[in-house]
């Protein structure tokens, strides 16, 4: 029996994360994402050369609003980003760490660029994995801190986030100057995702191979299907030869899921929803699983058990599944 196989002419660009001493960094190893020539996990139709990666969220301050069932896993390292990062890697098996400079938010602590640089250096020293570095999410302040952070880690090939259509120049400039990669974030809109890649590449064509698209993800029950369909179109466009969209993708799953009542609500508040720990990590893992099927290359996760479940699922998904 012959089965019909789809053949694509395009390929998702392969992006390298991190840099070892050979390339001017201090990471113990680098990681690669992207490179696919087939839809997710259809190994018999093309190449899926790199496994999707699990990044774990690490904050530069104690996250006050994380629920207890999440907090308990980090109780001993809360408030120490370096120890927290190390625990994610050594104990929970994270492929990489997503360090978030929440304390730089002017409405929270308004931490200075110098404070942030000191934290980044500690985290770089504590773990050997490549790092994702996010600002606080407030554009103006991020423009103040991301440049110094990029400079302090020159050559490390951090994945810097986030560039947005109305605020991409300084981050793209920092990535160019200090040899980092960049997250291009668009609001669940494929046209804007494409345009943003063009805008960034206009600053330097070399950045095209250093962009990871954040298409903006939503949690299960909160519009996940919109994210899914945008990602699907991005991936089909990439495989059909649209080089401007052919970037690997990243999703802030934990950030979305852990603000929703399905994850934060106790069994007492929601009788009939089941026990909170099980429910919450299932919510995160299920959201992430759907995004994996849509082609997500990097999942930023919070719950260690969800991370473990996902790694196990990825092991299975990466096995050859040729039906013949």
């Amino acid at each position: 029996m012959e089965i019909y196989k789809e053949k694509y002419r395009g390929q998702v660009r392969e992006v390298v994360l991190g840099a070892t001493s050979a390339d001017g960094g201090t990471r113990s190893h680098t990681l690669k994402v992207g490179g696919e020539t087939a839809l997710p996990f259809l190994h018999f139709e093309g190449e899926i050369p790199n496994r999707p990666l699990i990044a774990m969220d690490v904050w530069d301050m104690v996250p006050a609003d994380w629920p207890d069932n999440l907090k308990v896993f980090f109780a001993d390292v809360y408030g120490d980003p370096a120890a927290w990062a190390k625990k994610c890697v050594d104990v929970y098996g994270a492929d990489l760490v997503a360090l978030r400079f929440k304390s730089a938010d002017p409405e929270i602590r308004d931490a200075s660029a110098e404070d942030c640089v000191a934290v980044l250096k500690k985290v770089l020293a504590a773990v050997g994995v490549p790092l994702i570095v996010y600002g606080c999410g407030k554009g103006d302040k991020d423009n103040d801190i991301m440049g110094p952070l990029a400079e302090a880690a020159e050559g490390e090939n951090l994945l810097l986030g986030v560039a947005e259509p109305e605020n991409y120049r300084s981050l793209a400039g920092a990535a160019m100057a200090y040899k980092h990669s960049i997250i291009a974030q668009s609001p669940i809109d494929i046209n804007i995702a494409k345009q943003l890649n063009i805008l960034i590449s206009e600053m330097s064509n070399s950045l095209l191979d250093r962009i990871v698209i954040d298409p903006t993800v939503a949690a299960l029950g909160y519009g996940l299907e919109y994210s899914y369909s945008i990602m699907e179109r991005i991936r089909i466009g990439s495989l059909s030869g649209d080089r401007i969209l052919a970037m690997p993708t990243i999703g802030n799953v934990g950030n979305e899921v852990w603000s929703k009542k399905e994850a934060t609500g106790s069994a007492g508040e929601h009788p009939g929803w089941g026990e909170q720990l099980e429910r919450s990590l299932a919510w995160e893992a299920t959201t992430a699983m759907a995004l994996l099927q849509a082609g997500m290359d990097i999942l930023v996760i919070r719950h260690p058990h969800a991370a473990a479940l996902l790694k196990q699922s990825i092991d299975g998904l990466m096995r050859d599944n040729n039906p013949l």
Binding site: N191, I192, Q195, I198, R233, R243, L245
Partner: protein, 264 residues
Amino acid sequence: MIIIGERINGMFSDIARAIRRRDPGPVQEWARRQEAMGAAYLDLNVGPAAADRVAAMRWLVEVTQEASKLPLCLDSTDYDAIAAGLEICKGPAMINSVPAVQEKMDRVFAMAARYGAEIIGLAMNETGVPRDAESRVALAVELVANCDAHAIPIDKLYIDPIVLPVNVGQDQGPAVFETLRQIKLLSDPPPKTTLGLSNISQGTKNRELINRIFVVMAMACGLDSAIGDACDEELVKAVATARILLNKDIYCDSYVKIFYNQGR
């Protein structure tokens, strides 16, 4: 929809002169200019005046390849000249063209199979260009059958329904559109389609306008490529826009610019 740049053709006096004097300057200048404007292929035609067509084609291929990496579309009724060109093409090329005449198809499809080349097949035969869509499609079927007989993937065949100037055969426009639609139903995957775009406006006073409108209407009927003036900026913009409207490319604000850069 891709544009096959028509400008390197001995019908143009600068190219004829360049071929005569073996001066690569004008050829390479047009190669670069058409590539920059978004041409996906470069048509090479030594023209009617060349004394030794085989040598002239070989020279054109050589000097064009020095200036551009675009695939070439070897355009001649002299198949020895095309064979000589295919011999030295660095990448897969396109043969322009073969009519639905058996002995010519035998030779050209065999040549295409040997060199992995694409082929432009003309919906005409010994008796000329049919006047209606049905007869054109019948010739298209012959081309498809011969392509298949040589085990060439059908999507390497570009069928040209043959365009006549609008001021000569005004009834031929609708026949061409209908032919394009029907060609797309002939097989799965279907053959590709092409046409000599500038023909439609021969002898008219509004050449560029007619070319632009015609190409967009033909795209809506299934046109995949056209041999045309890649340096007509408005034509290229119209094609880029039609691709967006037909959902062939994903929209973004800079879609026209991207079309140039991607050379489609």
